[in-house]
C-alpha cells in the first residue's frame, strides 16, 4: 500500500552533496572490508572486536559492535560471522514465517530488495529468486580457527576448551577483590606480569600435556605487544590479513573477559580511580601465549597440519565468501522487517500544532520503552494528566554515595562524567557504616566466609537458614497483588540524599538547563511528578539490567529526588525567575519511582507536599493507581503469554527467572512532541523523547538528544539485537546454570569464559524469542538542516547514521512526509503522516 503512495510522493532531497553520496556510490563488498583490514594494525583490529561490559552491580547495555562503528553494519556482520562462526541475522525460516503471517508485507520486502539491487550486483535478481534462496539456511563455515581449534578438529581433543578455562581462571583471580578471601598474590602487577609470574608455580598446562610450557615463563620482561608480534612471526603468520583474522579469532574465543579489560580501559579514560589499570592487549598476549605454546608443543610433530592451518588463514576466503549471494538474502530480509516496522509507525504519526504541555498534573518519565505503556495509561485515565519523556537521569549526572556501600555509584549515562556528587544523609547525622547493625552484618559475613570460621558459622547459624528459606518460599507463594507497600529498595528508612556539592549558582544553572531541555519553561502544572524507574525483583543477578540505563544501571529514584529537591528550593526558583523561567509558587515537584515489574508508581517523600495540595495529591494518587492497573493488564501479555500471571509474585519470588521483559521489543525512538504520538499504541517498543523544534534555541536540545539519548538507545537496541541473533557469543547464556564469578559477572557451569550480554531468559520465553531484532528507527521531528548539522558536527553520530547502525527518519511538518535518511544525507520518503 505504501509503495504506491510513495510513488506519488515528491522526493525530498535535502543535502548539498547529494550527488557524491548517492547510495549507488556506496558499494561495499568483501574486498572492501579486507582492504580496510589490511591498512589497520592487526592487533588493534583484533582488539576492536571487543567492547566494555559493566559489572552486574550496575550493568548497562552496550552496543557490542561499538568499536567497529566506522564500518558499515552489514560489512561488520559479514566479517564477524566468519570470525565468530555464527550468523548475525535471524535464521531465514524466522523471516519467511513472518512474511507468510503478513508481519513482513510484500511491499516492505520489495523495498528492501530494490535497495539491495541498487547497491550490489550480488543480490538476487528477483523477489521470487529471493524467496527460493530463503528456503535453506546456510551455516557459517568455521574456517578461521585458532591453532588449538584446528588441532582439536583433526584429533578429537578439547584443547581450546582447556585453554579458555585456564585463561578464565587467571582473569577471574586477577580481577577478584570480593569473592576469594585468600587473594591472588600478584594482583598488584599488570595482568601480563601477573600471569607470567604465576606461571612459575602453575603446573596445569604441564599436567595437561604441554611439555615445554616453560618457554613462555620468561616472557615477563617483554612488552605484550612485542610478545604478540614475535609469536605471530614464529608461528609463520606473516600477512596482516591472516594476523588480524587469527588475533580476532582468539579475542572472539575469549570475548567475555576481554570486555572486562575494555571496561577498565574505558573507566580509566573517564578518570575513575576504582578500577585496575589493565589493558586488553595484555589479555590478548596471554591468549596468544597459550595458543602459541600449544602450536610449539603439538604442532611440531604435526608439521603438515600446522601448514594447513596457516594456509587457510592466509588464503583469501573466509567462512562467508563463497556464499555472498546467500548473505545478501539475510540482509534483504533484515532490512525488510525494519522497513515494515518503520512504515507502520510512520503512517500513524499525526502532526499536531497543539504543543502545549499545560495541565494540572505533569508527569516526567524516562524515555525507556516501558514508560510508553505507562504514559499511555496515565493519559487515558485522566485528561488532566500530561506526560513528558526525558532521559531517566533527568539531566542531573552525579555520583551518589550510599553510606553502607563501598564506593559511590555513578548515576549517569556511562558516556558522561559526573557533574557533582551527593551523599546519603541520616536524620541524626550518624554515618551509617558505623552503626552496630552494619557492623554485625559484616561480622557475620566474615564468619561465614572465613576458611575455618565457616564451621562455626554453619553450626551456629545453619538452622537460621531454614527459617530464611521458608520465608522465601512463602513470600513467593502467597504474594498478593493488592500490596501497595513501597519495595524495600526504594525505601530509605528515613535517610535522604544530601545536597549536591556545587554552589547555588551552578545548581540554578543546572535546573534551568534541565527545564529547557524538557521543554518545561512555562505552563507549569500544580503537581509535577518526576518519576524515575527501577525494577524490584528477588535473587536476580541481572537485576540492574532491568534498571535505568541512563542512570548507569541504577534505579532512577535518587536522581528524581535530587532534582525535585533543587526545583522546590526557593532560592533556586528565585534564580530561575531571573533567568526567565518563572515557576508559580503553588507548583510543587514530587519525586516518584515507576516500579517496572508490577507497573506501580510509588510517590517518594510525600511529606514534602504542602497542605494546600493534599487534595490534588490524593486525586493524582488515585489516577496513578488506575493507570497502573491498565498498564499491568496490557503488559501481562504484551510479549508472551507465558509469564507468571501475578506481577507481585514475579517481583517477590526468589526462583523467578523472568520477572519482566525489560527493554525487549525495543524498535524505535521518537523525538517529537507527545501530541504527535499520543494516539499510537507502541506496545512498549518505543523510546519517546518529548521535543519541540520551534522552541529549541540553536537546536541545542536536538544536539544533546542525538549525541546522548540516541546513542544510549542504540546501545540498548544492539545489545538486544546481538543477544537475540547470537546468544552463544553475545548473550550471557542460561540463568539456570549461571555461576557468579567475583560476585560481579557470570560464567556458565564450572567455568569457561565470562558471559556478557543478556541471559537467554531475558529475550526468550521458552518457546520463542520475545525480542524482534530490528535496528532502532529514530524518528526526529526537526528541520533536516538541523539534523544534518548535528551529524556533520559529531563523528560518532555520523558513523552510526551513515553506517546504518541505526535508521534516522525525518518527520517533515511542511510536507507531512516521513523520510528515511540514506547514507550521506539523502532522504527517501517512505510514507505520509496522518492528516492533522
Amino acid at each position: 500500500m505504501l509503495i504506491t503512495e510513495e510513488k506519488k510522493l515528491k522526493p525530498v532531497f535535502r543535502p548539498k552533496k547529494q550527488l557524491e553520496v548517492h547510495p549507488d556510490n556506496h558499494k561495499h563488498s568483501l574486498g572492501d572490508i579486507l582492504d580496510i583490514n589490511d591498512h589497520k594494525d592487526p592487533i588493534l583490529a583484533a582488539l576492536d572486536i571487543s567492547v566494555p561490559s559493566w559489572p552486574l552491580q550496575n550493568t548497562v547495555a552496550v552496543n557490542p559492535f561499538w568499536n567497529q562503528k566506522e564500518r558499515h553494519f552489514d560489512d561488520v556482520m559479514s566479517e564477524l560471522s566468519s570470525i565468530l562462526h555464527v550468523q548475525l541475522y535471524m535464521p531465514l525460516e524466522y523471516y519467511v514465517s513472518k512474511y507468510k503471517e503478513g508481519a513482513i508485507s510484500h511491499e516492505a520486502l520489495r523495498g528492501a530488495f530494490e535497495q539491495a539491487k541498487s547497491l550490489t550486483k550480488n543480490s538476487p535478481k528477483s523477489v521470487d529468486e529471493l524467496l527460493q534462496l530463503s528456503k535453506v539456511d546456510i551455516g557459517v563455515a568455521p574456517i578461521i580457527l585458532s591453532f588449538a581449534e584446528h588441532y582439536d578438529k583433526s584429533h578429537g581433543t578439547a584443547w581450546h576448551l582447556a585453554i579458555i578455562n585456564q585463561v578464565s581462571k587467571f582473569a577471574a583471580a586477577f580481577f577478584d577483590d570480593a569473592q576469594a578471601l585468600i587473594a591472588f598474590p600478584w594482583r598488584d602487577n599488570s595482568f601480563w606480569q601477573a600471569w607470567c609470574k604465576a606461571q612459575e608455580y602453575d603446573r596445569s598446562m604441564e599436567i595437561l600435556g604441554v611439555q615445554d610450557f616453560q618457554l613462555i615463563k620468561n616472557a615477563a620482561t617483554i612488552e605484550p605487544e612485542k610478545f604478540i608480534r614475535s609469536s605471530l612471526e614464529k608461528l609463520g603468520l606473516t600477512g596482516s590479513l591472516s594476523q588480524s583474522r587469527y588475533l580476532s579469532r582468539l579475542i572472539a574465543k575469549g570475548f567475555g573477559w576481554s570486555t572486562q579489560f575494555k571496561y577498565c580501559e574505558w573507566q580509566n579514560a573517564l578518570g575513575y580511580p576504582d578500577v585496575p589499570a589493565a589493558r586488553t592487549v595484555e589479555y590478548l598476549a596471554v591468549l596468544v601465549a597459550y595458543d602459541f605454546s600449544l602450536a610449539q608443543s603439538l604442532g611440531g610433530a604435526d608439521g603438515i597440519k600446522r601448514g594447513d592451518w596457516i594456509a587457510t588463514l592466509n588464503s583469501a576466503s573466509n567462512g562467508n565468501q563463497q556464499n555472498v549471494n546467500a548473505f545478501e538474502v539475510y540482509k534483504i530480509w533484515q532490512n525488510a522487517s525494519e522497513f515494515e516496522y518503520q512504515t507502520r509507525i510512520a503512517s500513524q504519526i499525526k502532526p499536531s500544532q497543539d504543543y502545549s504541555l499545560s495541565a494540572k498534573y505533569q508527569i516526567v518519565m524516562c524515555i525507556d520503552v516501558r514508560s510508553e505503556m505507562m504514559r499511555r495509561a496515565l493519559e487515558c485515565v485522566s485528561p488532566e494528566i500530561k506526560t513528558i519523556g526525558f532521559a531517566g537521569f533527568f539531566g542531573v549526572p552525579f555520583d551518589y554515595k550510599r553510606s553502607d556501600e563501598k564506593i559511590a555509584g555513578h548515576r549517569l549515562p556511562v558516556l558522561l562524567t559526573p557533574a557533582f556528587s551527593v551523599k546519603q544523609e541520616h536524620p541524626d547525622h550518624k554515618p551509617y557504616t558505623k552503626t552496630v547493625n552494619t557492623g554485625l552484618f559484616l561480622f557475620l559475613r566474615h564468619l561465614r566466609k572465613g576458611p575455618l570460621a565457616s564451621f562455626s558459622y554453619v553450626e551456629l547459624f545453619g538452622p537460621n537458614a531454614l527459617l530464611k528459606t521458608i520465608r522465601q518460599v512463602f513470600s513467593g507463594f502467597f504474594a498478593k497483588d493488592t500490596s501497595q507497600a513501597l519495595p524495600a529498595r526504594f525505601s530509605d528508612k528515613g535517610t535522604y540524599p544530601g545536597q549536591p556539592n556545587i554552589d547555588l549558582k551552578s545548581r540554578t544553572e543546572r535546573c534551568a538547563a534541565v527545564l529547557r531541555h524538557m521543554g518545561l519553561t512555562k505552563n507549569f502544572g500544580r503537581l509535577i511528578l518526576i518519576a524515575g524507574h527501577g525494577s524490584a525483583n528477588t535473587n536476580n543477578a541481572f537485576s540492574s539490567s532491568l534498571d535505568c540505563g541512563a542512570c548507569g544501571g541504577h534505579a532512577g529514584d535518587v536522581n528524581a529526588r535530587v532534582l525535585v529537591r533543587m526545583l522546590n528550593d526557593v532560592e533556586i526558583r528565585k534564580g530561575l525567575a531571573v533567568a526567565g523561567i518563572v515557576i508559580p509558587g503553588e507548583t510543587h515537584f514530587l519525586a516518584a519511582v515507576h516500579e517496572t515489574v508490577t507497573d506501580s508508581i510509588y510517590f517518594l517523600e510525600e511529606f514534602s507536599v504542602p497542605k494546600s495540595l493534599q487534595q490534588e495529591l490524593a486525586k493524582l494518587k488515585e489516577n496513578v493507581m488506575r493507570a497502573g492497573t491498565i498498564a499491568r493488564k496490557e503488559r501481562q501479555e504484551s510479549r508472551s503469554i507465558y509469564l507468571d500471571s501475578s506481577p507481585q509474585r514475579r517481583s517477590l519470588n526468589w526462583s523467578e527467572t523472568r520477572p519482566e521483559w525489560g527493554l525487549a521489543g525495543n524498535a524505535c525512538f521518537v523525538v517529537a512532541p507527545r501530541a504527535w504520538t499520543k494516539h499510537i499504541n507502541f506496545s512498549s517498543r518505543a523510546f519517546l523523547h518529548d521535543y519541540e523544534a520551534s522552541t529549541d534555541e540553536k537546536f541545542a536540545t536536538l544536539e544533546l538528544i542525538m549525541t546522548t539519548s540516541m546513542i544510549v538507545t542504540n546501545w540498548i537496541n544492539l545489545q538486544y539485537y546481538a543477544s537475540t541473533v547470537a546468544p552463544s557469543v553475545y548473550g550471557a547464556g542460561s540463568k539456570t546454570i549461571h555461576n557468579l564469578v567475583n560476585e560481579c559477572g557470570v560464567q556458565e557451569g564450572n567455568g569457561g569464559d565470562l558471559r556478557v550480554g543478556l541471559p537467554i531468559q531475558s529475550v526468550h520465553d521458552g518457546e520463542k524469542f520475545v525480542h524482534e531484532p530490528l535496528r532502532i528507527s529514530v524518528f526526529i521531528a526537526a528541520p533536516s538542516s538541523a539534523i544534518e548539522n548535528v551529524i556533520a558536527k559529531h563523528a560518532v553520530v555520523r558513523s552510526l547514521v551513515d553506517n546504518q547502525w541505526l535508521y534516522l527518519l525525518h518527520l517533515d511538518l511542511n510536507t507531512d512526509t516521513v523520510s528515511r535518511r540514506l547514507p550521506g544525507g539523502f532522504y527517501q520518503p517512505i510514507s505520509l503522516m496522518l492528516a492533522s
Binding site: Y201, L442, E459, L460, T469, A541, R658, T736, G751, G766
Partner: protein, 485 residues
C-alpha cells in the same frame, strides 16, 4: 502461564512426602521405634523383607530430606520454567528423592544397598541434564567412577557382614553386636567390614581423595546442586550413623574417619578461600563441611554429626538457591578484619589441647567426643579476629549475638541428642582426638599464613590450593585418554 502439569504434580507429591514424614515423626513419638513390614519375599534361602525402620534417626533424616526436596521442587517450578528438560528434571528429582527416602527408611542391608545404587543412578541422570555440554559429561563420569568404587566397598562389606551375622536385618545385626556375640575368629573380618563401610561413606560424602568429582558438577541447574549438596551428599554420613554400632566397633575405621575428615575439612576450607566463583567455592565448602561431619563421626560425637548434617543442609540449600543476591551484597561496605595475634592463637590452641586432655579423664571420658568437637568449633570462631569498629556497643552486641546463638545451638543440640541417641560401641582414643585437633590448629595457622604473608612458599601453596590440588586437570587428562567423548 505454562501448563506444565507433570512438574506441578511432582512438586505437590514432594510436599505430600514432607507431610507424611511429619506424620511418621508423630507416629514415632507416640508409639516409639518400630519396624513396619510392607512385604516379604522368599527367594530360596534368602529372606528379603521390605520394611521401613521407624526410629528417631530415620524420622529426622526423612523429614529433613523431604522438606529440602519439596523446597527444591517448588523452586524449580519457576526457575526451570520454559526449559525443554523441565519434565526430565522433575522425573529424576522424584526418582532420586524416593531412593534417598528408601535409603533412610530401610530396615536391612539389601534395601539399603538398592537405594544406594538407585540414588546414585538418579543423581547421574540429573547431572546429565545438559548432556550436550562436554564438561557436564566429564563431571558425571568422574562421579560415576568414584561411586562405583564406593558401591564395590559397600557390597563387599555387606558380604562380610552376612558372613559374620548371617542376616541382613539391621535390628538383628545391632542386637548381636550389642550382646557381644561376635566370635573372636570373626574380629578381623568385622574390622574389615567396618573399614570398607567407612571407605564407601568417604566416597559418597566427597572426602579427600574421593572429592574431585564434586567441584565439577556445576554444569547442571542450580536446584540440582542444591539437592545434591544439601541432601544426597549426606548419604555417606547417614551410612556411618546408621551403621555406627558396626563402624565404631573398629578403632581403625573410626580413626580413619576422624583423620580423613579433619584433613578434608581443613583442605576444603583452604581451597574454598582461594576460589573466585561462587559455585566452586560452595562445592569446596561442602567438601570441608562433610569433612567436619566425618570427623565428628570418627570421634564418636554422633549426635553432633547429625546436627551438623541438618544445619549444613539448610545452610547449603539456602546458599545455592540465593547466589543471585551476592551481586547486591558485594556493594556493601567492608570493615577491616585483621587476623588475631600469633601469641593469642598459640595460647588458645594450647588451652584447647589442655581441655581435651582433661576431658579424657573427667567422668571416665564419656564427654571426650563432645569436648573435642566443641573445642574445634570455638577455636574456629577465633579466626575472625579483631574488628575495627568505632562504636563501643558493637563488641557488646556482636558478643551477645554469638552467646545467644550458642545458647540456641546448645538447646537444639541437647534436644536432638536426647531424641536421637547414638553411642559408639568402643572407647574413643585420646590420640585420635589430639591428632584431629592438631590438624584443625594447623589449618588456623596455615590460613593465617596464606592471608598475611607474601613469600615464595605461600605463593606455591596458594597456587596448589587455587588449582584444587590439580585433581581436576589430572583426572581430565586420564579420562580423555581412556574414555573419549
Amino acid at each position: 502461564m505454562r501448563k506444565n502439569f507433570e512438574s506441578k504434580i511432582i512438586s505437590s507429591v514432594l510436599w505430600i512426602l514432607f507431610f507424611s514424614s511429619l506424620a511418621l515423626f508423630g507416629f514415632q513419638i507416640a508409639y516409639g521405634s518400630k519396624t513396619l513390614t510392607i512385604f516379604q519375599l522368599q527367594i530360596s534361602a534368602l529372606d528379603i523383607v521390605f520394611a521401613i525402620r521407624v526410629d528417631p534417626l530415620s524420622c529426622v533424616m526423612f523429614t529433613m530430606v523431604s522438606l529440602l526436596s519439596a523446597i527444591v521442587g517448588q523452586y524449580a517450578l519457576r526457575y526451570l520454567d520454559g526449559e525443554s528438560r523441565q519434565g526430565y528434571f522433575y522425573k529424576f528429582l522424584l526418582t532420586t528423592v524416593l531412593f534417598v527416602v528408601m535409603l533412610v527408611l530401610s530396615s536391612n542391608l539389601i534395601m539399603f544397598f538398592s537405594a544406594w545404587l538407585g540414588m546414585s543412578w538418579g543423581l547421574h541422570r540429573l547431572l546429565l541434564y545438559h548432556s550436550n555440554r562436554p564438561a557436564a559429561v566429564y563431571a558425571a563420569r568422574k562421579k560415576f567412577l568414584v561411586s562405583r568404587l564406593g558401591d564395590v566397598a559397600v557390597l563387599a562389606a555387606i558380604g562380610l557382614i552376612y558372613h559374620i551375622f548371617g542376616t541382613f536385618e539391621f535390628a538383628e545385626i545391632f542386637s548381636q553386636v550389642e550382646a557381644g556375640a561376635t566370635a573372636k575368629s570373626h574380629q578381623a573380618v568385622f574390622s574389615m567390614a567396618a573399614i570398607l563401610l567407612a571407605a564407601s561413606a568417604m566416597t559418597k560424602s566427597a572426602q579427600v581423595p574421593f572429592h574431585f568429582w564434586l567441584p565439577e558438577t556445576m554444569e547442571t541447574p542450580t536446584p540440582v546442586s542444591a539437592l545434591m549438596h544439601a541432601g544426597i551428599i549426606n548419604a555417606g554420613g547417614f551410612l556411618v550413623l546408621r551403621l555406627s554400632p558396626l563402624i565404631s566397633h573398629s578403632t581403625f575405621a573410626s580413626a580413619m574417619l576422624a583423620t580423613c575428615g579433619a584433613l578434608t575439612a581443613v583442605y576444603g576450607a583452604l581451597v574454598m578461600s582461594t576460589q573466585n566463583n561462587i559455585k566452586t567455592k560452595l562445592a569446596y565448602s561442602t567438601i570441608s563441611q562433610m569433612g567436619m561431619m566425618m570427623f565428628a563421626c570418627g570421634i564418636h560425637a554422633y549426635s553432633f554429626a547429625l546436627f551438623h548434617i541438618i544445619s549444613h543442609s539448610f545452610y547449603k540449600a539456602y546458599a545455592f538457591l540465593t547466589t543471585g543476591t551476592l551481586v547486591e551484597e558485594r556493594k556493601r561496605d567492608t570493615l577491616k578484619f585483621s587476623s588475631i595475634g600469633l601469641g593469642f592463637l598459640i595460647s588458645t590452641v594450647v588451652a584447647a589441647f589442655g581441655i581435651v586432655y582433661f576431658a579424657n579423664f573427667w567422668q571416665s571420658g564419656i564427654y571426650l567426643p563432645s569436648v573435642t568437637y566443641i573445642s574445634v568449633i570455638l577455636l574456629c570462631l577465633l579466626q575472625v579476629g579483631h574488628v575495627n569498629h568505632p562504636s563501643k556497643y558493637f563488641y557488646a552486641i556482636a558478643f551477645s549475638t554469638i552467646v545467644f546463638a550458642v545458647g540456641i545451638y546448645t538447646a537444639l543440640e541437647i534436644a536432638l541428642s536426647s531424641f536421637v541417641s547414638i553411642q559408639g560401641s568402643s572407647e574413643p582414643s585420646l590420640f585420635v582426638n589430639f591428632f584431629a585437633l592438631t590438624i584443625f590448629a594447623s589449618g588456623l595457622f596455615l590460613s593465617r599464613f596464606l592471608m598475611e604473608s607474601q613469600t615464595r612458599i605461600s605463593q606455591m601453596l596458594y597456587m596448589f590450593l587455587w588449582n584444587g590440588g590439580y585433581f581436576g586437570v589430572h583426572t581430565n587428562r586420564i579420562l580423555s585418554r581412556r574414555w573419549s567423548a
